[in-house]
Symmetry: C2
Subunit: 172 residues, 2 copies
């Protein structure tokens, strides 16, 4: 059911995420959808929650057992932008649905608030912040299909971000 909603938001776009569309995708009637979620907002809330959990999970699977300094940050970089325009189109599309509703944005804000402290604990603040921002920038630009980079350029940048996170090399 949530899967159906995600399919709609990815294939049809944010504005077309209507209860009817979800119902069609889930091979249910709208009444059936409303039976499980009392309102559209409730459905969106569930989607947001699941997206956040999935984001946590994605980073954790890339995390080594005993992370060296910077490796948490590196795992974050890879989880976020390692795979260009990957499966995370969901969170992206979702963001643009949810952006207008402060109530729905609250958990997202919470998520972002905790993210930097979590991933940048063992890295100098300014470096962690820079990498965090660049990573989010790339992610958000991918989301809006605004990225001006060629595939090769993008790969180079992702590599650079990973190296900066883990090794502490200098920026060229």
């Amino acid at each position: 059911m949530l899967d159906a909603a995600e399919a709609v938001v990815v294939t049809q776009g944010a504005v077309r995420l209507t209860l009817d569309a979800v119902a069609r995708q889930a091979k249910l009637s709208k009444g059936g959808v409303m039976y499980h979620f009392p309102s559209k907002e409730a459905l969106l809330q569930a989607l947001v929650t699941r997206a956040i959990e999935r984001s946590h999970a994605a980073r954790e699977t890339l995390l080594p057992a005993a992370p060296q300094p910077g490796q948490v940050l590196q795992a974050y970089v890879r989880a976020s932008v390692g795979d260009p325009l990957g499966n995370d189109r969901v969170s992206g599309a979702l963001l643009s649905v949810v952006a207008s509703d402060p109530k729905l944005m609250a958990p997202v804000r919470e998520f972002f608030r905790k993210r930097l402290p979590a991933i940048g604990k063992d890295v100098p603040f300014e470096r962690a912040a820079l990498i965090h921002l660049a990573t989010e920038g790339l992610w958000l630009m991918d989301l809006f299909k605004l990225s001006p980079f060629t595939k090769a350029q993008r790969a180079k940048i992702v590599r650079l971000l990973g190296e900066l996170a883990a090794a502490g090399g200098a920026v060229p």
Copy 2:
């Protein structure tokens, strides 16, 4: 008239940008609005065009007469994020209206495609890309009110970005 539309999109949010709301804000009737813009899409197009022009203008006013290497990039950084949550709420809010319509996004994409080559000409590619991404990241996070930084932290990061752009110092 465009001012009125911008006022609406900033104060009421992206979803509330309706023709009626614009008319009310402009102290016109809906007929009056439709007299100038044949459709809502035409109005949005005009808004996008103006926002892009304004963004160009903002950078140019910060540009020294004979820019040293890196100073174009520095001007870009300052124009984009120098003033926290500044007047550029317009472009932000606008983006989330326009994001769903490929036709309206085309000029925006064009704008972004040309931006990096323009601002990073005299700076090593990877450095320019990193600064560009971090700047856009900060801008986009401000837009969605997702920035996890305190005022002091934000100021420090903006300073760092400016220095990295102009001087070529190392990342701490």
